[in-house]
Symmetry: C2
Subunit: 212 residues, 2 copies
DNA sequence: TGTACATCAGTGAACGCGCGTTCACTGATGTAC
DNA sequence: TGTACATCAGTGAACGCGCGTTCACTGATGTAC
């Protein structure tokens, strides 16, 4: 890591990162089944034994990949919130922020279906490392904070707040999962932009807000 | 099949059914990864080559298993509807039927997590047989018909009806998926009965109905 | 600036494993006469 | 009721495969003096 990111000296210098990128590409191409450590190493241009120096085992690699996924999910949600805030810094703002988070959530899922499925209950189970839990929680707290601003209360300690959070999360998650799974042809066929209004409507239902 | 269901003559007589039951047990014990044709055959007490006489290949077995799952999902939804109808054949009935269907949906998922995940986008992808699509549609139509009764319109040909259907489906599906995935400790720790009120509330939100 | 040495991150061969599938086979079942 | 025969549903051996992981190794990198 002494010289820049372009460095291709061998000892590779950034193999861990390269492996994670290769792993994600493999995941996209082959799906969760079909994914393997060996083909990931091959894609990274390295012998199949090399990853052992960076990841204890296959599960560790998948956990790291999932953690990165949660980081990106959080970033996408926040980016949508920022864009929405810029658009209309107006009256309905708090609800608009939750809607934006929801749109980001679904957008991430549709843009990264294989990763999304890995993150939520996919392969590499067992003892999740703390790093992964922490990344997942960061995404969750974007949602919780948004709902708290709408309700004007702590969203996790009151029954009503908790129900709001669960409703929004469930409806976003369900929509994302159904869209990814191709269970609803209409969803899968639409470009994402056409789905924004539907998602916004659904989040508002979950919060018991009037139609947008 | 000449004599009763108890028959254990060899030629087994009901190997296809026995394999499906063994496969489900394997799925529950080992999860989707770890599932294999060979261990399924072994569990059914038969050589690992025997299944080939009943299922073209592994994918065919999984598709059949998923189709059975959809049949049972449909049955559970209808059973909840029947129970709800018996309880209170009253005013709010149409909405109550959708709520009951939603409760049945989630209950099935929680009682059969591995099967539920197989049914929705799990392993054995590729060309789904018509039998599977038909079984899935039967479940879907329970939901659609229920929503139509609430809205008093065809739920699939109007935009508003379509949004109602999607909102209910998404929120049920998301709740089920999150509960199964153990993402929400609170959910996973509760007995199902304690979750009924929460699920009912969520379905009512999806339909834009007043609090139950 | 040069040399000796420890450490680190690769290599490639080898391991044992369980998998799905194919194959020739066998023996029981059901049918035609 | 008995016999010949086709069909069907099993068996067990064998195939080739890709997998995760281990191992002794090698050669480059970085450090101490």
């Amino acid at each position: 890591m002494k010289d820049g990111a372009e460095s291709r000296r061998y000892h590779h210098g950034a193999l861990r990162e390269a492996l994670l990128e290769a792993a994600e590409a493999e995941l996209i191409e082959k799906g969760e089944d079909g994914f393997s450590l060996r083909s990931t190493a091959k894609r990274a241009g390295v012998s199949h034994a090399a990853p052992a120096h960076h990841f204890r085992d296959l599960a560790a690699l998948l956990h790291a990949l999932a953690a990165r996924g949660f980081d990106r999910l959080t970033a996408v949600m926040k980016a949508e919130q920022a864009a929405a805030g810029a658009d209309a810094a107006g009256t309905d703002d708090a609800a608009g922020q939750v809607v934006a988070a929801g749109i980001g959530y679904v957008r991430f899922a549709i843009d990264n279906p294989a990763l999304f499925q890995l993150m939520f209950g996919g392969r590499g189970g067992g003892d999740k490392p703390a790093e992964l839990a922490k990344a997942a929680e960061a995404g969750f707290s974007v949602l919780v904070n948004g709902v708290a601003r709408v309700g004007g209360r702590d969203a996790l300690t009151t029954e009503a707040g908790w129900r709001d959070v669960m409703a929004v999360w469930a409806i976003m998650h369900g929509y994302a999962h159904l869209a990814i799974g191709g269970k609803v042809a209409w969803l899968s066929d639409q470009p994402f932009e056409a789905q924004r209004a539907v998602i916004a409507d659904q989040v508002r239902r979950a919060l018991r807000l009037a139609e947008g």
